[in-house]
């Protein structure tokens, strides 16, 4: 029987230990989160120094129905579609290819994981140089579009997608490799004795048992795809012709260049809601097909 005094002491200790985290969360996560909704209700004046005007939900409906927003949304979704499935398929392919005990396979595995050491900024500058028409190697290889890739309205977004896929490949590879590791070897042996070809073993054994990992990669990958910022800032700055104006970039330019925090707040709410809805849809639709061993 623990005395009431001890219980009270334990309680205060617990709250004391939780205080630092909770304080940070309160100030830098929850307060801004809720305040953001509130900020969207006020229109920012064109000149600094003037007071903000309360416009209720008018600003929400205005911003969210603007063609600028819809374009940004379309761009963001297109970007996610370009990067998430491709990245997972590539990471999975590399993981399966390198999941054999061959001599020297460790070197390949290290190379495939290597991009995990690159940040968005590092990858962007590397590829920015590669895509550059003057110093990059692409024209020499025969790839010389006019206008140059990063200034090309049709090619800019796919180019940024390639940078993103490359940069996240290391992480996806490690994730998929770890997932492959959890599949017991004797399942493959049983399948071999049962007469299954390598292709059949992949679709009937590997893929279903890897589905929890793939599911995780899709959900988390989508969330990160929607939060893309650095590559856009370094490579295309939202252009050309706003063809790479993903939501996060749009939010930041509204905030910094246009000094319009009301608009930025509305856009942030939109980003949050879309991400939340997308995640919920993915969980409902996809998780049913996940085989938890």
């Amino acid at each position: 029987m623990i005395s009431r005094q001890r219980r009270a002491r334990e309680m205060s200790l617990a709250y004391f230990l939780l205080l630092p985290s909770l304080a940070i969360f309160a100030l830098f996560v929850f307060y801004p989160f809720f305040k953001n909704f509130y900020l969207g209700l006020f229109r920012t004046p064109p000149f600094p120094g003037l007071p903000k005007t309360y416009v209720g939900f008018d600003q929400y409906s205005e911003v969210l129905s603007s063609s600028e927003f819809l374009n940004s949304l379309k761009t963001t979704i297109a970007f996610a579609i370009m990067t998430v499935p491709t990245g997972i398929v590539l990471g999975l392919g590399l993981a399966v290819l390198a999941h054999r005990q061959l001599r020297g396979v460790g070197i390949y595995r290290t190379i495939f994981s290597s991009t995990v050491a690159t940040s968005v900024a590092v990858a962007s500058v590397i590829f920015g140089t590669l895509f550059n028409p003057v110093v990059g190697l692409l024209p020499w290889l025969g790839i010389d579009p006019r206008p140059p890739i990063l200034d090309n309205p049709d090619l800019a977004l796919p180019a940024v997608a390639i940078v993103t896929i490359w940069q996240t490949l290391g992480l996806t590879f490690i994730l998929m490799s770890s997932g492959l590791q959890t599949i017991p070897e004797d399942l493959y042996e049983a399948a071999r004795v049962d007469g299954a070809t390598p292709t059949r073993r992949f679709w009937q054994v590997t893929l279903p048992l890897l589905s929890p990992t793939i599911f995780f990669a899709v959900v988390v990958g989508s969330i990160f795809a929607f939060q893309t910022f650095g590559q856009i800032d370094l490579l295309t700055q939202g252009g050309p012709l706003k063809r790479t104006n993903v939501l996060t970039y749009f939010i930041v330019t509204s905030l910094r260049q246009q000094n319009n925090d009301g608009k930025a707040a509305v856009l942030a709410v939109a980003l949050f809601s879309i991400t939340l809805v997308l995640t919920l849809i993915q969980v409902r639709v996809l998780e049913r097909r996940v085989h938890y061993a």
């Binding site: 017991p184 399942l187 042996e189 071999r192 004795v193 049962d194 007469g195 054994v205 085989h291």
Partner: protein, 359 residues
Amino acid sequence: MGRVAFVGVTKRFDDVVAVDHLDLEIADQEFLVLLGPSGCGKSTALRMLAGLEDVSEGSIEIGFRGDMNNVEAKDRDLAMVFQSYALYPHMTVRRNIEFPLKSRHVPKAERDELVADAAQSLGLEALLDRKPAQLSGGQRQRVALARAIVRRPTAFLMDEPLSNLDAKLRVQTRAELIELQQRLSATFIYVTHDQVEAMTMGDRIAIMNEGRLQQVGPPQEVYDRPANVFVARFIGSPPMNTVAGEVVGDSIMVAGTAFPLPGPLAAAVRAAGCAAVVLGVRPEHLEIGADGPLPATVVVVESLGHERHVICRLDDGQMVIVRIQSDEAVPAAESTVRLSADPGQLHVFDAATELRIDA
């Protein structure tokens, strides 16, 4: 048809020889047990048969198709039951059993029939739509068996299939497996380290140690005439007593006591010409009496209910076990007793080669 053979098969992993020149022929419809301690090479031999490991030297023959060394596992028409059962965790029991048939593109109608048959053979009809995680150990084992029998393969390979079951279930399943083998009229090649399983289930037992085949024969023969000291000690529970002795005339001297050998055996021992031997006698062939030739001190008496094991120390420090019935007198610990052995049940092994000296 269901005949399988190892012809001079050797397996090397780097510099370790796991299987050393194994020659073993298994007849159609035979229940052959591969028995031995951990690391003796029995599982490796089985896996080479299945095609899961390469053969370093020699060849594997299945049916009359000759050398199978370059045939892949999936084309060998063998079924295997793994120690861990290796059931596909994401598939229902039905789909697990169906898997080998689907891999061979058996049409659906035929598939359904074969699956239903196999399920019925093993009493799994009610469980067909469950997943392995929802089954007990014994049920999972039966699913593994059903998956094996559904194809009617040339032979069944089993890698310690009972070791993950609790003792009571193991005894029950042993009987079921024997009955299954007879019902299917199939060749079973069964790997185990448990000599009780080997003795009760096998038509023949092939004992391996350190990669080499020690002896192969029907259980009673292996029990009555072990080919070397290893087999003598491995088969039988409690194990055969093996004590060091010297050849003196027509007797063997153990701890200062002479044990005369029967005529033919004595002649054979003399002909073998060795001085140091290992004398083997099973615990049930030793007696405790007032006038036996061999003095010994009782160390401990173990009571098993239906019998007792009296563990004794000889004058030269060697230990022997004597088996007595529960209704016999129980000697006290630390007491001195006199042991006698049935002369017709003495086994003599050359101390250097450890091989049996036969009359």
